[in-house]
């Protein structure tokens, strides 16, 4: 697929206000975002041409091409009682595909998110299931279980979290994980990535949680803590683009999701931000 014909996050919807225009870069193209007093949002490129716009999952989405499909849905985000949290925009000097892949990785938790999402010596990633679901054209990983000292801001003690990962688009990933205050429900955490270019990204973490006691400021900072811990690792990954040739980086069993993600990208011929040498 031509990467340009997809939807990408360009702004946090609630921060785009009338009279406060935003300028940003999406895939090397400058865009100008406005919100009229009527609430209507518009995006234009530098030539003044209108670009497609849609608002969903707390963000404004646009495209430098012509999206062939509507934006993916997150039905759980509409469930009553969830707190929807915009976690900000963080710039990372890395390919958007690297940013998504890192979000799908579990094995780094004890080393990068020490005493939060993981802790030594609990470093083993137990076997889990991964599939490319052809009917919906998405990557899913299910049955991921991991020991976590502090799984969420709402967690009062360590627990074994259960994760499900969903990749609904090449530059977006969603995870469903055990909700500490309501173990029968799953928290939803999304990571939406805007490619500024092939080696520079802006990540928008977003959450839909069941948590009535934690102040929203603390939820945001918990998520920012996690993401900034990842950022320094991401910026040191070489090559900056995500290699699609399986011979370029040696995967282990724990990397099953990443392998499926890379295979899926290759099959779709989604190559923006990918290292295609040898493919």
């Amino acid at each position: 697929m031509d990467a340009r014909n997809d939807w990408y996050p360009v702004a946090i919807a609630s921060f785009l206000r009338p009279g406060e225009d935003q300028h940003l870069t999406l895939m090397n193209t400058r865009l100008h975002l406005t919100r009229a007093t009527s609430g209507e949002i518009a995006a234009r490129d530098t030539a003044g041409r209108p670009r497609p716009v849609t608002v969903a999952h707390g963000h404004v989405w646009s495209s430098t091409g012509e999206p062939a499909h509507p934006l993916f849905e997150i039905p759980e985000g509409l469930e009553l009682g969830r707190k929807l949290v915009d976690c900000g925009a963080v710039q990372v000097s890395a390919s958007p595909l690297r940013v998504v892949e890192n979000f799908l990785d579990i094995a780094h938790f004890p080393f990068v998110h020490t005493d939060i999402l993981g802790a030594e010596p609990h470093t083993e990633v137990a076997p889990y299931e991964v599939e490319i679901r052809d009917t919906v054209d998405e990557v899913w990983a299910t049955g991921v279980k991991y020991y976590q000292p502090q799984a969420a801001k709402s967690a009062r003690e360590s627990l074994v979290s259960e994760y499900t990962y969903r990749v609904p688009a090449p530059c977006a990933a969603i995870l469903y994980k055990t909700c500490p205050p309501r173990p029968d429900m799953m928290d939803v955490i999304g990571l939406f990535v805007r490619p500024v270019d092939e080696e520079l990204s802006v990540a928008y973490p977003w959450m839909a949680l069941y948590d009535d006691s934690t102040p929203v400021e603390e939820m945001i900072q918990f998520q920012q803590t996690i993401f900034i811990q990842d950022r320094s690792i991401l910026e040191n990954q070489i090559p900056r683009k995500l290699p699609l040739d399986p011979r370029m980086e040696s995967p282990t069993m724990a990397d099953k999701t990443s392998i499926a993600y890379r295979r899926w990208l290759k099959r779709k011929a989604y190559l923006y931000g990918a290292e295609t040498h040898g493919v």
Binding site: A89, S93, Q221, I228, S232
Partner: protein, 215 residues
């Protein structure tokens, strides 16, 4: 009444205070301020607490302090009975301590600004900020090199002081601003030494020393 810190987890200046509190073993109530994306530090509610709209702010009883160097001085005076964290035996040591506290602010104004630009998209003259940041790191590295020749591991001697705590965060966070540590060997050794101080806590972007787990 316990102390209260208005805090933003990604702020290097707030981290100076969190780190000092941890090193002194002092408890403090944390109030998270949504600096990004909410810009809560510029909203009326926060401006009532600190008209300058800056973080951190420490409240201890009647006292409200809103400058990280001032807070370090206060904490070291008030909560460190050993006096080791704040050497002021004579004119020279008092002045050198003040010099390095100011130097910490210089690091925030250069590397800190470049970091906010690179990380959160907050506008600044990025080339100028990075160049000034490198210059500051070179000075810091040269001083630490000289300290090394004297057999002293920290900025003002062989034990850490609030001068080290004032300079450590933004020096350590330089890679977040696109400034690598590779060119500053004495600085790199000092970054490890500070992380070895008992009671050290990390912040996002500054990873703890994992080899400590095995010792």
């Amino acid at each position: 009444m316990s102390m209260q810190l208005y805090d933003y987890v990604l702020s290097g200046n707030c981290y100076k205070v969190r780190l000092m509190l941890a090193l002194l073993g002092q408890r403090c109530e944390m109030t998270a301020v949504d600096f990004h994306p909410g810009k809560a530090h510029l909203q009326p509610g926060f401006l009532e607490i600190n008209p300058a709209g800056t973080l951190p702010v420490l409240i201890d009883g009647e006292l409200s302090l809103c400058d990280s160097s001032a807070i370090l001085v206060y904490l070291a005076h008030r909560y460190d009975s050993t006096g080791n964290w704040r050497p002021n035996a004579d004119a020279t040591s008092s002045a050198l301590l003040q010099f390095w506290l100011s130097f910490g602010s210089r690091l925030s104004d250069t590397i800190g600004r470049a970091r906010l630009h690179d990380m959160l998209g907050i506008p600044c003259d990025i080339a100028a900020a990075r160049e000034a940041g490198c210059l500051a790191l070179r000075e810091l590295d040269a001083h630490l090199g000289e300290q090394g020749f004297k057999g002293e591991r920290f900025l003002l001697g062989d034990t850490p002081t609030i001068a080290d705590i004032a300079c450590f965060p933004h020096a350590a966070l330089a890679p977040d601003a696109g400034i690598e540590h590779d060119d500053y060997p004495a600085l790199r050794r000092w970054l490890i030494d500070v992380r070895r101080v008992p009671g050290f806590i990390e912040m996002p972007g500054i990873h703890r020393l994992h080899d400590q787990l095995t010792t």
